[in-house]
């Protein structure tokens, strides 16, 4: 298995001609209309776009959580679109990590139990060195015996990040990881995500609608109306905002611009 690939040349995730249609005939809605996109390994990429742009749908397909109407998704050499439910489950267990907006920790388990859950599912032993690295990087040492109910939102999300990274997945998908956090905790979580890419060599793909959050990424993929609308390398909040504004002006009929 690929431990981590700092070589940005080979993409970790690759989508070609990805199309998702909801409904039929006249009522058909193209959530995604032929998306071609690569996500570099060992990089932190943000997917951005306005509500309804298809960014969540794209992430679901990239992570093997949903199936596309047509097109292909490759995780490394594996074509996800050909796998059945059990194979997808095993793939998620071993090669993909998730960070959710609502943290989604199991309330009856301690932080430590939550973190090691994916390893237990896979039946593999905990690599104590890696566990310690994660716990120290995410500053969770003091919190390991606490249950989610006893943790702040930021702490819970850090536990969730540790859980996502514990199995050394090829890609971590983060869905609005700061959506339920105050700005300070949010900034903290984003720094941790960036550190896990830069210092631990992980690959993170994050969906967000917050330009400040996107600015933590190495690269921003902009999406609008189910199509890739552009990319921004080494983004800053300002450049991301500018990119979004450009999208907005594209959407707005010319005549109505004040």
């Amino acid at each position: 298995m690929t431990q981590h690939a700092p070589d940005t040349g080979s993409p970790a995730v690759r989508a070609r001609g990805l199309t998702t249609v909801y409904g039929e005939g006249a009522a058909a809605v193209h959530a995604l209309a032929g998306v071609d996109v690569d996500f570099a390994a060992g990089a932190f990429t943000a997917i951005m776009g306005p509500s309804g742009s298809g960014k969540s749908t794209l992430m679901h397909l990239l992570a093997g959580l949903d199936s596309a109407t047509s097109g292909t998704v490759h995780l490394g050499e594996t074509e996800l679109t050909k796998l059945d439910d059990d194979a997808l489950t095993l793939l998620r267990r071993e090669r993909v990590g998730f960070v959710f907006q609502s943290f989604n920790l199991l309330p009856m388990f301690t932080a430590e139990q939550n973190i090691t859950l994916p390893l237990e599912l896979a039946g593999t032993k905990v690599d104590t060195g890696w566990f310690d690295t994660l716990v120290d990087t995410l500053a969770l040492r003091e919190r390991l015996t606490h249950r989610p109910g006893e943790l702040s939102g930021g702490q819970q999300q850090r536990v969730a990040i540790a859980r996502a990274l514990i199995a050394r997945p090829e890609v971590v998908f983060a869905d609005e990881p700061t959506g339920n956090l105050d700005s300070r905790s949010g900034a903290e979580v984003l720094s941790f995500l960036r550190r896990s890419v830069r210092e631990l060599g992980r690959t993170v793909i994050m969906v967000t609608h917050d330009p400040t959050a996107a600015a933590y990424a190495d690269r921003v993929v902009l999406i609008a109306d189910g199509r890739i609308a552009g990319t921004i390398d080494d983004p800053t909040p300002e450049s991301v905002l500018a990119g979004l504004d450009a999208l907005r002006s594209l959407e707005t009929p010319v005549g109505t611009v004040a």
């Binding site: 679901h60 095993l90 009856m108």
Partner: protein, 842 residues
Amino acid sequence: MRGFVLAQLRRGGGRLVAAGIAIALGSAFVAAALLGSDIVKQTAYNSVSASFAEADLVLTSGTGFSPETVESIGAVTGVEAVSPVQRLSFVVANEGRSDYAWASVTASDERLEPATVESGRLPGSEGELALTASSAKRLGLAVGDVLTVSGFDESEGTARTATLVGTLVDPTGFNYDAPTAVVTEALATDLASAIGVDLYAERALVVLEDARAASRVSNAIEAEVQGVNASTVDEAAHEAVVHFAGETDILTAFVLTFAGVALVVAAIVIANTFQVLVAQRAQMLALLRCVGATRSQVRRSVLIEAGAVGLVASAAGLGLGTLLAQTALWVVPALDLAVPAPSVVTLSAATVAWPLATGTAVTVLAALAPARLATRVAPLAALRPLELTPVRKSSRVRLVLALLGVVVGGGILALATFAALTFDQADPTLFVLAGIFGGAVSVTGVLIGAVYFVPGVARMLGSLAARAGGVPGKVAAANSVRNPRRTTATASALLIGAGLVTMMATGAATARGSLASLLDENFPVDVAVQAPWNASGVGSLTATQVAAVESTDGVARTEPVEAITVTVVAGGDTWSGETAYTASPEGIRAVSRTGAVELPEPGTTAVPAWMDVMEGETVTVTLGEKSVELVNDPDVMGQLWLAEEDLARLGGETVTSALWVSLEPDADPRDVTSNLRDTFTELSSTVGDPPAEILGAAVERAGYEEVIDTLLAIVVGLLGVAVVIALVGVANTLSLSVLERRRESATLRAIGLRKAQLRQMLAIEGVIIAVVGAALGAVLGIVYGWTGSALILGSSGGLRLAVPWRDLAIILAVAVAAGLLASVLPSRTATRTPPVAALAVD
């Protein structure tokens, strides 16, 4: 508010299905019990009124109906025909076979003849007789044959011959008074005077010229004929049914008790459901409170919802109960029971109202606590993000009540048991009643306090599951105690059912063991095969019979008992024709159950107690010319026993009057005795050996065990409904939890839990809850079963407390299977949740 309730029902109706099923089963039970009781009464009514033929009035008289009385009744205006119901009992015999007949005399008017002819005709002229078809068959008679009728003592010259001119339809099960023979008045009078009795009629039937004038004519009859009481057929039948009704009502009450248990269990399931629903709707309820709903409106909304569910479910239950009763009626004719059961169920106001009322009332009552919980939702909760409601700390009041119940109830129960065991001469009824009261109070205490120990036991079981079941086991174990109250309530429902079943099984096992020990004392051997007595005294078993017994499966060892007829002289009294027994002391010890049977030593004898001979007195036993003088050494066996040597000194030919048999330890005495019976019946028909009597502990025990097993089967069957409802409750709790944990399930799926593992997880959780309920129920059931047995059987001595291991194993197996089964539907819901749902924000 009504709009809100309707909307809730429409939206969450599915969540109430299980609660509805629970209550429907309970009220179906009530409906079936009431309808069954009605059917029995209706059947009895039909039976009785059939015996009145086409009569309009039934007359009774304390002094009977003489020909003069009958004549004066016939003279009353409006009476068209009158016939006294004259009865006589006698013996009918044919070729050595005889039967008892409870005859009536042919009615003077055919409309008043209750007997129905099956073949041939009713007797018309002197010396004719009709018998029921079954009686004629027993006697081997066909229409046209001649038979003997006589009084009970043939020697007194009462025998007459009669011709069988017809067979009658057999009377129905309930009509115990129905005639089994019809004779002409002449024959009846002749026979009655020969026997020396009067032909007596305590009833007369009347046909009216105009049936509508019944009340006027019955008044006229009562006025004109002294001592006669007239009632319409309907009144008379009702009066007769009241006689039955007493017994029917007790039976109905017995069955309804179990319906009550089922309803209590259903109430727990309902209370649980509404508790969960209120918790799940907390935010919506808070919103309602925010926009101005008062507490009482919120409470009412829950209660109205409960009432609606209760009413709908009870109506379904009534339908189900009616269907069950109707199915029974469809089946009855096929069983050929010869009872005039109605062909369709008749619903009365009571049989409709009670199931509906109890079902609805139980549902509303069960929802009271959840409704109160709903009023506690603060309006502010609407503004907070929805979090799982923290588990409330159990109140101090609950702890006090639980302890009070257990201590006080347990104390009364213990005292009653102690008293029953100590004062073994006293009537145990008082102790039993006190014990039932104490038991009920302590069980209530245990149930109130269940929340203190059920989660602990669930945790213990869970830790086993967590160790063995990997991640699914671990998550299931944690989930099963997440909501201690919910788990407790669900397990408690099962605890009640499993506990009662275990209690009954323990009681039955203990009764079986105790009876066995009592029987061991009274019957020294497993089986004694006794030759029948004949005209010359003690009978003898044939060599064929002895060989047959020895080769019967399950027979371990046999020992012959030799007998001879002797004359006994002791203390001036002489008894001739007594049977003296002897056997080999070693052989008898070997076959006896206890190995402690002592036969008289040479020179002594055991004289039966009724001869009233003192211990140590001299007894002379004579056979023909020879006699021996022996010292009396009384024995418990109640027969005259001699040592082999002493009997040999008398000479004479002994016969093998009995075989003492010991059985293989693993043989079922029921099988062995029934095999023995078959063997003897066969030998009697083939070789002509007279069938022997089969006695002994094993036979007695087989009889008792059959009664105990039948009673246990009936009670367990009746409790089955409560157990089924409790299992519906387990499924219900799982489904409600699954709905609540939608996002968690999705998260687990997203991070790598396979569908099969998710199913496994719910199955383990279901098994944990079910096994906790069943195991605790079993423990409590054993304790209460033992106490109950001590209360009831303690005074008879020989109490042997037993654990019904096999039944316990079955109960646990059922619990495991049920836990698995209960998880099937919730699993479907859970696995349908896509992993994407984990990303949803609500």
